[in-house]
Structures are given as structure tokens and as C-alpha cells.
Subunit: 337 residues, 2 copies
């Protein structure tokens, strides 16, 4: 298996991302094709005592799509960017999967233009794994690919999320929940009400509405469905809540001697906590619904996060996920909401 890693568009320098690619290659035996400035990649390989060739190869490119660029314009104009060239390599089956910590909108737009959509899925969705207190992750889809959804799109997210949970995460009967602001059917906005009706009438194991304040502590479902705007707000608010507690604790511990001792004794626990809620362990969010395995890593991804994103890609390829999604959608038609 060969996985392409776009090392140019992330927040951290390519050298750090190459390190993640090397670690993934050694850990799981996949070959890595690094897309980016060949000089920079070569230097990074050397810095980590590796050379070009064998399982680590380079796709030389000259352009980079920045985080703040307009996605569609960037994808259209920067044809020699690591992002576009990487997707073309995936389309040509030179690689089995594509991983990028770059501009999310550009990865989504580029994937749709280059790879096309799976038949029956008008809107691909990004599925993020969120760690919970109970250990097992919870899958949230969509977290940002579509900011204006119709009810049927949420049904497609449910279907793709269920496929991913079953075929990649190995949850035998994934339960689906609809992210809402109350648990009763009548709660929420028009979009959710109609999506609830469609899900209720469909073949998936639909558990009804779920609310954000107990998802991480009770994990009532395996897959949470929402439109991309709401899903993105949800993820960032979770991150904000966790950061707030962590900042308050750190600040308070610095301020008192007694607390410093307490903090030292608790240090191993804080490190487990950080690990459990870390984006590094959950570094890759697959873009589901396009013809090819595309994994979006966090913009701030470091080597560890990249390693984790490549592992997500490897598992999706192994599970032949897209074939499963195609099979699922052909067995279920929705009227468009």
C-alpha cells in the first residue's frame, strides 16, 4: 500500500510532517509518497537518517496552497501545488490514499473536482473521531465540508458514518444520533426535524436526537450526524471547554506552592488526560463520499498527528470503505428532503 502525504500546506514546517510520514512507514509498513518541494523533503529525510527511494519517495511540486486562500480559486489556479498534484496521483491510482494537513476547504473542493463523488452522494462529509471519557471514540459527521445542508444530506452522512463505524472502526451495529438541542423529536430547527423523519423511516439503527453536553461522558451513540457548520462549531466548542479547564488549572497551580506539589503528584494523570483528549491521537478525519480515500489532518498537526492520520487512511483502504459506502447508498434512496 502506498499513501501520499502532502507536506506543504500545514501550519508546521514540512520537516515535522515528513517525520510523521517516516514514523508511519516504519510502524505499519506502508510506503509513503511525499508531495512537496523536493529539496525540502530530501533534507527532512536526511535529517531523520532516511534517504529517498524504496518505501519513501517524492512527488516534486512547486506550489503551496495556504490556509487562508479561497479554496476553489486556489485549486483551480495552483495546478502544481502538493495538494492538487497529490489528488491527481490518487485519481491515477499511483497511490491508495491521500493525507493532508492543509486548507480543509481546498482539500474538499480539490477532491470533488479531481476524484468525483460516489454515485448517490451529492455532498461528501468530513467525519471526525472525538475521544470520550469512556475511552472509545465517537464519530461526528459532517464537521465542516458542507455549511448549508438539506435533510437528505444528513441522511447520507448517517449512512457513510455507519459504514465507516462498521467497516473501519469495527463497531458491529453502530447506533446513529442526530445532534440537536433537545432529545424530543419536535426539538430543533427545520433541517433537523425533517432529517429526523427521514432517519426514523430509514433502515439505519437510529437512536434519535442527542445533545452535546453528555456525548463525551455518556457516549449514547456511535455516530453523531449534523450539518457541517454545526459540527464544526460543536468540535471547536468542545476544544474550547477542555482548553479552558486546562488553562485554569495550569494558572492556579503556578500560583500556589501547595498546588504545585499537588500538580506534580497529578502529573501522570494530566499526561493521560492530554493523551485521551488529544487531537494528535485523533489526527485524521476522512472525507467520506468522494471516489478515493482522502484524510484531512488538523492544520496544527505535528509528526504524531500525521502518523495517526496516515493510520486512519491505511485502515480505510484496507476496509475497502468506498465500495462499502457505494453499496450502502445504492440500497437506500432518499427523496432529497
Amino acid at each position: 500500500m502506498r499513501i501520499l502525504l502532502d507536506v506543504m500546506g500545514g501550519d508546521l514546517p514540512p520537516c515535522e510532517l515528513v517525520r510523521g510520514g517516516i514514523a508511519a512507514g516504519h510502524q505499519s509498513g506502508v510506503d509513503i509518497l511525499f508531495a512537496g518541494d523536493p529539496e525540502v523533503v530530501r533534507a527532512a529525510l536526511n535529517a531523520h537518517n532516511e534517504v529517498e527511494g524504496g518505501c519513501f519517495t517524492i512527488l516534486p511540486t512547486t506550489q503551496t496552497i495556504g490556509m487562508d486562500e479561497s479554496p476553489v480559486r486556489a485549486v483551480r489556479s495552483k495546478r502544481d501545488s502538493s495538494l492538487v498534484r497529490g489528488l491527481i496521483a490518487l485519481k491515477a491510482r499511483d497511490v491508495d490514499a491521500f493525507v493532508s494537513p492543509g486548507n480543509t476547504g481546498a482539500v474538499v473542493a480539490g477532491s470533488i473536482f479531481t476524484l468525483g463523488r460516489i454515485a448517490g452522494i451529492p455532498r461528501p462529509g468530513i467525519a471526525a473521531s472525538v475521544p470520550t471519557v469512556l475511552g472509545e471514540e465517537i464519530l461526528v459527521i459532517d464537521v465542516g465540508a458542507n455549511v448549508d445542508c438539506a435533510p437528505a444530506h444528513l441522511v447520507h452522512f448517517a449512512l457513510m458514518g455507519a459504514s465507516y463505524a462498521r467497516d473501519v472502526l469495527r463497531i458491529s451495529h453502530p447506533r446513529i444520533g442526530l445532534l440537536n438541542i433537545g432529545t424530543e423529536k419536535a426539538k430543533g430547527n427545520k433541517l433537523n426535524y425533517r432529517a429526523f423523519e427521514l432517519l426514523e423511516a430509514g433502515p439505519l439503527p437510529f437512536a434519535g436526537n442527542v445533545e452535546g453536553h453528555h456525548l463525551l461522558t455518556e457516549r449514547p451513540v456511535d455516530v453523531v450526524v449534523c450539518d457541517g457548520f454545526v459540527g464544526n462549531v460543536f468540535l471547536k466548542a468542545l476544544e474550547g471547554g477542555v482548553s479552558a479547564v486546562s488553562d485554569l488549572l495550569k494558572g492556579s497551580i503556578r500560583d500556589s506552592f501547595r498546588a504545585k506539589i499537588g500538580g506534580l503528584l497529578l502529573r501522570p494523570i494530566f499526561s493521560v488526560l492530554r493523551d485521551r483528549l488529544s487531537y494528535q491521537r485523533f489526527g485524521g478525519a476522512p472525507l467520506l463520499g468522494v471516489n478515493g480515500v482522502v484524510v484531512i489532518a488538523h492544520g496544527r498537526s505535528d509528526a504524531k498527528a500525521i502518523e495517526s492520520a496516515i493510520e486512519v487512511a491505511r485502515c480505510a483502504v484496507e476496509a475497502d470503505l468506498n465500495t462499502e459506502i457505494g453499496r450502502g447508498i445504492s440500497g437506500w434512496s432518499t427523496d432529497g428532503g
Copy 2:
């Protein structure tokens, strides 16, 4: 000043809520009119060594609107509920403000039916104060009154939030942010894009888009504007993130002796933390845009939260908030988005 407290519809028993009313009465010198079953209120007053009369009086009612009842139906059919009778008392100016920890939808619907809207505000909004790491709160509006908004509604929320921040929270030049999934203008959904344009062109000090992951740690603005569905998801996700960390910490501390000692030494800090992020201190969310001061307390409100909600109501009455909002809206017209 006399404030009505609906003691029947909360999650906790009326006796606990009456205790909060008594504390608020003693603390700030307001008179409290308790709406509810007179036997129950009288018993609660006696249990706390108070008697009916003077600053603590009773509005006897026979019905209760439950948390799961359909708001509009409940408000229409339960005319002798503490909620409806309380709002009628506010309309008749028997009291200066109304506070309830009951069914939020019913308080919103009942307030609109009974009190009417401030001219120029088609959609009232709920403004929640969210604690931040930096100490000062941040105001989020709307957090659940309107789940399907037009761009102009977000502009009205901004205007009402700015009034509240200036006149009640005493922030001299409140900065407004739009909750979004990126900071650039082009980010987000259609609703946000259009609201951004309206706010940018308007007279308020608009600071642009803000994202949820840094609101509590950096407090980039004083008022955050969003539609009620998104705002409610945002609040619950924050709560979920904080609970997750707290649960993980508690669980880990129980599991190890060393950590138990660390936890004991850190106990004062945990208690400050809990206080800082507690809904009890931030127990009251005003419903802005109706003709009367209405404060919605958290359904799980205990006596302390009720005391805090009554304080929110007292400050809004003192600031003559609704007159200020009316003045603000008449000075600014929007085309409906």
C-alpha cells in the same frame, strides 16, 4: 422593586427554589412574589424561618408546565400555571421582572404572547453569560429562542446584546463577534455571510467572525452573536468539554493513591474552578426583545442559581434595559436580510 419567581417548573423541588428567592430578597433588598402552589410555598417559607407577607408574598396557582410539554400548547391550555400567571402579573406591572427555571420554550412563547415584542424586534433572543478563563464573562445571544434565523435577526441580537453589555454589564464599548467556523469574512454558511455584511455596514463596533475554541481563553469580544440552534449547541458542547475533563480527573484520582494526595492538595483549586465555570454563578439568561424583564434560569437551578438569576433580573430592571433596546432599534433599521 418586586420580582416574581416561578417555583413550580424547574427540575429541583419548589422548596429549593424558594430558598434561592429568600436569599436574593435578603441579599439585595428586592421583594419576591413566589408563583406556585400556596401550600408548598408556605411550607418552604416556614422551613427557612420566613412567613408570608412583607417582602415575601405568594401568587397562588394550581397548574405546572412540565419540561417536556409542547410550549405553545402548554401556554395556551394551562392558564393557571405559575408560568402563565407570572407573566400576566408582569404584564399588569404587579411585578418588575419575571424569573423562571421552567420549560424554556414555554417561557419564550408565553412571554411573546403575553408581553409582546419590543417594536422592531420580530424575534426575541436569549442571552447567556459564559464564564471565561480571564474572569470576565462573555455574552452569547441567541442560545435557543430561535432555531431558524434570518440575517436581520442576528443583527437584532447584536444590537440587544450590545445594549445589555453596556447598560447592565457596564462594558462601555462592547465589541461584537459573529460565531463562525473561521475568521475570514467568506467563511461559514449563507446566514452568517449575509449577517456579516449587515453588521459590517452597521453602526455597532463589529469585530468580525470568532471561533469557539478560543472564546473562553482569549475573550476576543464582549458579545457573541449566533442563531439559537448554533448557540445552544455551542453552550452544551462547552459544558460537555468541561464535564469530560472533570470526569476524567475525578476517575483518575480515585484510581491511584499518589493521585489522591495530589487531588487533596489541589482541592481548593478545583473548587475555584468549579465556581468559575459554574452555571450557578451564571444562573440567569435574560430573554431580550420582549416588553418586560424576563430571566430564564437553568432547568437544574438550585437555590444559588436562582439567587443569581434574580440578581440578573434586578440589574436589568435597574438599568431600564428595554427602553435602551427600544431606543437602539429605532436608530437602526435593517432590510430583513
